[in-house]
């Protein structure tokens, strides 16, 4: 086999584990026999190892796109305002980039929403309370309710976001018990599938890491052997020179 150090394609395929696996196996065998190629591969692997130290700053990004022209006049901003963003605001585009909600609060919209909510509750005479760990939403319409229990919507706490919009004048009906069935079988299947995928991924990563370590040990071994041979050669030469010198001196 030709030297891998002279074959850039093969070298890169071996380094990045691409291309034909059979060819990579041949290269691995060649590296066990050829110290020069082992050293070349080791040097490239060291360069790749150093590249890992270059990390980008972990600054918060949190870009979001919103389609609300009401935000535009004053609130277009990114986590770090820039000329590009300000330019976007000046052009009056309908699309705005906003930071994550945790970084910015639209107070005006929030206030309006609270007022609307409170007003709605007052008009529809809705009361919200907790009974036995459950949220209970009770509504009193103009029509007297025959049974107070019949006019309340009882929801599991986690299903609060599914409360349908109230229609004034219509007595809310109790929600049937099977409205929110707990599909545990589906849930279990999903969890099992996630666990399986995770295990497979971990096994793949472990196998990959083991092969990398083995290869690095092999190449390091070859490089050490080369250095030992070179040192041994130097020692032999020095010994020979010494012997020649001393034998010449004895004559």
């Amino acid at each position: 086999m030709s030297h891998i150090a002279d074959n850039h394609d093969a070298l890169l395929d071996y380094l990045y584990e691409e291309g034909d696996p059979t060819e990579r196996l041949k290269i691995a065998k060649h590296l066990q026999e050829c110290a020069a190629c082992s050293v070349a591969v080791l040097e490239f692997q060291n360069v790749r190892g150093m590249l890992r130290y270059w990390t980008p700053p972990g600054s918060a990004l949190g870009f979001r796109v919103v389609q609300d022209s009401a935000f535009l006049p004053t609130s277009i901003a990114s986590p770090t305002p820039s000329a590009a963003v300000n330019q976007e605001a000046r052009t009056g585009a309908w699309l705005a980039w906003l930071p994550a909600p945790s970084q910015r609060i639209p107070w005006r919209q929030l206030g309006a929403a609270v007022l609307l909510f409170v007003g709605g509750m007052v008009v529809s005479q809705v009361t919200v309370g907790y009974e036995d760990g459950r949220m209970v939403v009770s509504g009193r319409s103009a029509r007297p309710a025959v049974n107070a229990r019949a006019s309340s919507i009882t929801l599991p706490t986690q299903a609060v976001s599914d409360v349908p919009s109230s229609n004034p004048g219509v007595t809310p009906q109790p929600v049937p018990a099977d409205r929110y069935p707990v599909d545990t079988e589906l849930l279990l299947q999903r969890v099992r599938s996630m666990i399986d995928q995770s295990e497979q991924r971990q096994q793949r990563e472990l196998a990959l890491r083991l092969s990398q370590v083995t290869r690095e040990v092999d190449t390091q071994h070859q490089a050490d052997l080369l250095r030992i041979q070179q040192d041994f050669g130097h020692q032999q030469e020095a010994t020979m020179e010494y012997l020649v010198r001393t034998s010449g001196g004895a004559k």
Binding site: G49, L51, P56, P57, S82, A84, V182, D183, R190
Partner: protein, 201 residues
């Protein structure tokens, strides 16, 4: 669909989120932004070398993607499409600014970020050494031609195959391999001083 199942945050694929975004579902697009903003920022940062520029390019990348989403046919992966937009923006940015990439030496490697990644036995000296190595790599990368630098960045930090990089950069596979090889060879020379002690150790 039951409420419990609906309450579980489902991990949708990029293709699903793109399809939903095309129908006007902004929140789906925001999920794509959340998923890909960090890799795009890292690509831009390593190409341009300045945090502020990288942030602007990242923002502009998603803005352009959102506007052009209806024209995205799905022939390539969504991530590849994003990478191509970001690479083009980086190139335009460097051309417009008429300058080489800069190496943000003081803030290029954040000690807090490093501390978050460090292993249990790393000392402050180890962290400082890592930061120093990161700076050396950044300096060495700065000297590479932009095509070589981008090819190495896509290969090393984003795990793309050579063929994917060739498709992104719109050049033959052999050209990509040549760029990566030449770049690595140059880095080997540039980082020679740092590599020698590591080899001997």
């Amino acid at each position: 669909m039951s409420t419990v199942a609906a309450a579980i945050p489902m991990t949708r694929t990029d293709e699903e989120l793109v399809a939903r975004s095309k129908t006007g579902d902004t929140e789906s697009f925001n999920q794509l932004v959340k998923r890909w903003e960090r890799p795009i920022f890292a690509l831009a940062y390593r190409t341009l070398g300045r945090e502020e520029d990288a942030r602007d390019v990242t923002q502009e990348t998603f803005l352009r993607a959102f506007r052009a989403l209806s024209g995205f046919k799905g022939d390539a992966k969504f991530s590849s499409w994003l990478y191509r937009i970001a690479l083009n923006l980086c190139r335009d940015w460097m051309r417009k600014e008429r300058r080489a990439p800069v190496v943000a030496v003081p803030e290029g490697v954040d000690m807090e970020d490093l501390a978050a990644e460090r292993g249990p036995i790393e000392t402050v000296e180890d962290l400082a050494a890592r930061a120093e190595l990161g700076r050396e790599v950044a300096k060495a990368m700065e000297h590479l031609p932009v095509e070589q630098r981008q090819a190495i960045i896509l290969k090393e930090y984003h795990g793309l195959t050579f063929q994917e990089i060739a498709d992104l950069m719109r050049c033959p596979l052999s050209t990509v391999k040549t760029r990566v090889y030449q770049g690595l060879a140059t880095l080997r020379k540039q980082l020679g001083d740092q590599l020698t002690p590591r080899r001997e150790s």
